[in-house]
């Protein structure tokens, strides 16, 4: 789960990480008023869940309330990577001496939280990692001790080269680690962390992602969720025990298991078709799940054919067939459907499906070829 910059800043503030003042605004009028009250140079920043806001023109400096208003006019309603800007953050502009990067991530390889810092702040860290990997300092944190003060200080000293500043920065690092653990984060980034001309250290921009598996114990974080339309669909599917992701193609797929679902999409592509979605109905063969899955699939008007690919293990193919028969009694559709059943009780399942007149096949590749063929009719 992702949150907006203004939400990340609130979490930073709650944990004592210094951030400049800011006001969240939804209208041009609110922006003008906020800038007037702040009575100084401000930055107007688009709040959308996408990177590269600056490059897209979603971040503007304003020297006066009038400039802030103009900036808001341009930014509110603009499109950044397919997302419409509905709100902006108006913050104090600060005099920057230097910009740094600070981030925490879960590292799959060391199986630990890794602190990454760099003097190349203000640019995307992926760019730095690609072009100047030596400019990133990485430190693996022992989960049994957490990030210790001296460790944070030593990393900060390497970055700032000045013990006074390093002590200030180290305190930010340890606070960031604390909030990272306590919120079950999977990414906590301050970029840039700035050194102001007045020798202050401030978090100017923040990005945080959270572990979906831990949201059950993070009610405060969950309350911050602002899903877009696509994510709403994914969440609704999730609540029904399905994993669904919409794609651009025209062949809908329904599969049991995530790996097999991906392999099914790949196979459709391999044979010259284009998958309309990823849909994993999971391990159970509950007929209701099959009905829900069919409803979701067919709600996508681009879908010209459906490929159902079931490899029965614990899931029994005859159960899936029963679910499908029930689903087709309820859902009226003229979209052609190809069914592939293999594994546990496949023969029984295929026998049951005879009454539906649906084309059935026993291999995945046959099913993909047939679905592509049918989608062209």
């Amino acid at each position: 789960m992702k949150i907006h910059e203004y939400q990340a800043r609130q979490i930073f503030r709650d944990y004592g990480i210094p951030v400049p003042n800011g006001v969240l605004c939804y209208t041009v009028y609110e922006v003008e008023k906020a800038a007037q009250e702040m009575n100084r140079m401000v930055v107007v920043k688009a709040q959308v869940l996408a990177g590269g806001r600056g490059k897209a023109g979603g971040v503007k400096l304003a020297r006066s309330a009038e400039e802030a208003r103009n900036a808001a006019k341009q930014i509110l309603g603009m499109d950044i990577k397919g997302l419409t800007v509905e709100k902006v953050l108006v913050t104090d502009a600060v005099d920057i001496d230097k910009e740094f990067y600070v981030g925490l991530i879960n590292d799959r390889n060391s199986k630990s939280v890794t602190l990454m810092v760099s003097a190349e702040g203000g640019v995307e860290i992926e760019e730095v990692a690609k072009n100047n990997p030596e400019k990133i300092i990485k430190f693996s944190i022992n989960p049994l001790t957490g990030l210790l003060d001296y460790q944070a200080r030593n990393v900060a000293l390497e970055l700032f080269g000045n013990i006074k500043l390093a002590q200030k920065a180290a305190s930010i690092f340890t606070k960031l680690y604390k909030l990272y653990i306590e919120t079950d984060s999977t990414l906590a980034e301050i970029n840039p962390l700035v050194l102001t001309t007045g020798n202050e250290i401030l978090a100017i921009d923040g990005k945080m992602n959270f572990d979906d598996n831990a949201l059950f114990r993070q009610p405060k974080i969950l309350a911050m969720r602002e899903p877009d339309e696509e994510e709403l669909q994914e969440i609704a599917a999730n609540e029904k025990g399905l994993a669904y992701i919409k794609l651009d193609g025209n062949i809908g797929c329904m599969v049991n298991g995530a790996g097999l679902a991906m392999a099914t999409m790949d196979m459709i592509k391999l044979y010259g078709g284009s998958p309309a979605n990823f849909l994993d109905i999971g391990g159970s063969s509950n007929p209701q799940k099959v009905i829900d899955a069919m409803n979701i699939l067919l709600s996508d008007k681009n879908v010209k054919a459906v490929m159902i690919n079931i490899f029965g293990g614990i899931t029994r193919c005859d159960d899936v067939a029963k679910g499908l028969i029930k689903a087709l009694e309820i859902i009226m559709t003229d979209v052609p459907i190809v069914v592939r059943l293999s594994g546990t009780n496949a023969e029984e399942g295929l026998e049951l499906l005879k009454q539906t007149g649906l084309p059935t096949v026993s291999s995945m590749s046959e099913a993909a070829k047939m679905a592509i063929e049918l989608s062209k009719r």
């Binding site: 799959r108 079950d184 992701i245 790996g259 994993d280 590749s365």
Partner: protein, 293 residues
């Protein structure tokens, strides 16, 4: 021979009285797995399917000599169950539970290392040594005794491919589902090394997917350390970036972890990568006959 589980495996089932625990205990027992105990706090003294139930793993180990544990408890309690098994002296833990928070797994990892406990999973289908021991939720009937090692990040895709292998007379020494989570126990390299050292395994099939760089590391390991042939398949070539494809770990983040990168790494290491599952037995046969290098 085989790896990790065999006839000497004495299994304790944590969460034996839950719906999944009960169901799969029956399946494992029917396959011939030596299920010696179950754990369900508050139910010590009961039996299930003739298997004695204990309040703790420690009790189960003391009474039955269990050496392997399988975990079916809900995700929120999985880390606790893993640590309980480890502290009770269990040397191999298989965590089936899906949806375990990543921080829980990060905290568990160093303690397992100190105790010398090996972990498979979480969010995995478990493993099987055909003809000897099934520890997991894998459908037993598709497996066949033989000499191919099998490692996979996915469940049903494993069944799909194993079924194709068995139909083509490629039986298996051991098949391991390592699970779809970003932070998990034993991974590709650990298992490749075990298969390399297993005298009965002649070749390995590896099923990877998008997310992380474990496949790239596996490719490097194969090029540098392995003498046995490996054939691979990577799922997720059509997966869009930034979206979690069902498995918590199956995500292309910041442009990294793509199927194309993984396939390139394997090709560079001399590991043929199948275009679709049905090509795997074909490539395996060609590799074993020396038709491809």
């Amino acid at each position: 021979m085989s790896i990790l589980v065999n006839k000497d495996t004495k299994l304790v089932v944590q969460g034996i009285t839950g719906r999944d625990g009960k169901f799969h205990t029956g399946k494992m027992k029917a396959y011939g797995t030596n299920v010696v105990a179950g754990v369900s706090p508050g139910k010590e003294g009961e039996t299930l399917d003739g298997i004695p139930v204990f309040n703790s793993v420690a009790h189960a180990v003391k009474a039955t000599g269990a050496n392997t544990s399988i975990i079916f408890v809900p995700a929120a309690f999985a880390a606790d169950a893993i640590l309980e098994a480890s502290e009770a002296g269990i040397k191999l833990v298989i965590a089936i539970s899906e949806g375990v928070p990543i921080q829980d797994m990060i905290r568990v990892t160093p303690i397992l290392k100190i105790n010398g406990t090996l972990l498979i999973g979480p969010n995995c289908p478990g493993l099987i040594t055909p003809g000897e021991s099934l520890v997991g939720i894998l459908p037993a009937m598709i497996f066949k005794e033989g000499n191919i090692g099998f490692i996979s990040r996915s469940g049903t895709l494993t069944y799909e491919v194993v079924n194709l292998l068995s139909l083509n007379d490629f039986g298996q020494t051991t098949c391991v589902g390592i699970g779809g989570d970003p932070v998990a126990g034993l991974y590709f390299i650990d298992l490749l090394e075990m298969f390399e050292n297993d005298p009965d395994t002649v070749a390995v099939v590896l099923i990877g997917e998008i997310g992380g760089d474990a496949e790239e590391q596996a490719a490097q390991f194969i090029a540098e350390k392995m003498t046995k042939p490996v054939v691979a398949f990577i799922a997720g070539q059509t997966a869009p970036p930034g979206k979690r494809m069902g498995h918590a770990g199956a995500i292309i983040s910041s442009g990294a972890g793509t199927a194309a990168e993984k396939i390139a790494a394997f090709n560079k290491a001399g590991v043929p990568v199948a275009k679709e599952p049905s090509e795997i037995p074909v490539l395996l046969r060609a590799k074993l006959n020396g038709q491809i290098q």
